[in-house]
Amino acid sequence: MQTISLETLIGRHDSVASDLFDKRREIIDLSDACLHAAIAPSDPGGISRGLRWALALRMARLHSIDELVDVLETSEPEHETSGILGSIAVGWEATGADVRTSAIVAHADMLANEPRSATKQCIVKLIEAGVEQADIVRLSEFVGVLSYYMRVVAGVKLLTGRA
């Protein structure tokens, strides 16, 4: 998967954007590193890179972060893709997916869109569906990173007058 960066997503179109990128270089680089660790980690554990790609695209679409949608659409993983992942990526229900995958998608949707509704029962449901505890943390970090990154993109676009 190609490396995604805030600078290429947003662009150095004007002095405002260039100034922010230069003055917050370390934050920009660490933000990109976090996104890479979420979408294409060296050890994906039980949340495969294909599923991460599909969930990232699903979240970017639902949040209307078009720049991220575009770059993810052109960097579809060569392996692991299937009809089910395609359905997840476009935001449809994961029809035909196994119980574990369906539970992961449902949890990711809840955590991305309505985190205040999270309860202990949500974790119990994931465990009952066969999701390992370490993978629950990986999934939570994944949704957290994407939630952060998309808001930075949206905020900088507004700040640079391109929202």
Binding site: R116, V137, V145, V152, G155, A163
Partner: protein, 193 residues
């Protein structure tokens, strides 16, 4: 048995994980490196030990968090805490709210701002300056974010530089992440069970 804290408070609760934290005695080298464990630094919170299940993300998340919340120059510390508070209130994270409301009060010496936020939530009626910062944080926290046109111009008119507004966006966005971990992976209790 100890009670779950459900109301916003400035008293920091005990965070009780739903996930079994990584055991330092059996942690992998990658996990120890992400935790910054050294012979002179063995004290790690249960929250961070839970996050150590994903050491690759934790290793980059910790320095990013510190830069966003405690970086030099730009937006003041109190204003960054107010942004964290806006996100935490919107996302309903009682633990994060407790930590960052108490830090905001400590830095700003303005408990009345937190009192109003606890009383009225995202509809809190604050002074013009605090309101502009809090409202932008809340609206950025929505899914999808809903930042009203003019909000950036209002902050500029109050004297905030673009770098300071960017710091505000980063702080609120960072808590969009932190709230999703703290609120979903454990619960705030009155005391340790």
């Amino acid at each position: 048995m100890t009670t779950v804290v459900e109301q916003f408070t400035t008293k920091i609760p005990y965070w009780n994980p739903y996930i079994v934290p990584v055991d330092l005695a059996t942690a992998s080298q990658e996990q120890k490196e992400a935790l910054k464990i050294t012979p002179s630094n063995m004290k790690v919170s249960e929250y961070v030990l839970v996050l150590a299940h994903d050491p690759e993300t934790l290793a980059v998340r910790s320095p990013l968090f510190n830069e966003v919340m405690y970086g030099k120059d730009g937006l003041g510390r109190a204003e960054r805490e107010l942004a964290a508070l806006g996100a935490s209130i919107y996302n309903g994270c009682v633990y994060c709210t407790a930590v960052h409301s108490s830090r905001y009060i400590s830095l700003s010496k303005r408990p009345e701002v937190v009192d109003e936020i606890f009383a009225s939530g995202i509809d809190a009626e604050l002074d013009e300056n605090a309101s502009a910062l809090f409202d932008l944080s809340v609206k950025l926290s929505k899914a999808p974010p809903e930042i009203p046109e003019g909000s950036i111009g209002d902050l500029r008119a109050m004297g905030y530089s673009d770098l300071e507004i960017f710091d505000l966006i980063l702080s609120a966005a960072m808590f969009g992440w932190a709230n999703r971990l703290m609120h979903s992976l454990g619960e705030p209790l009155m005391s340790k069970p």
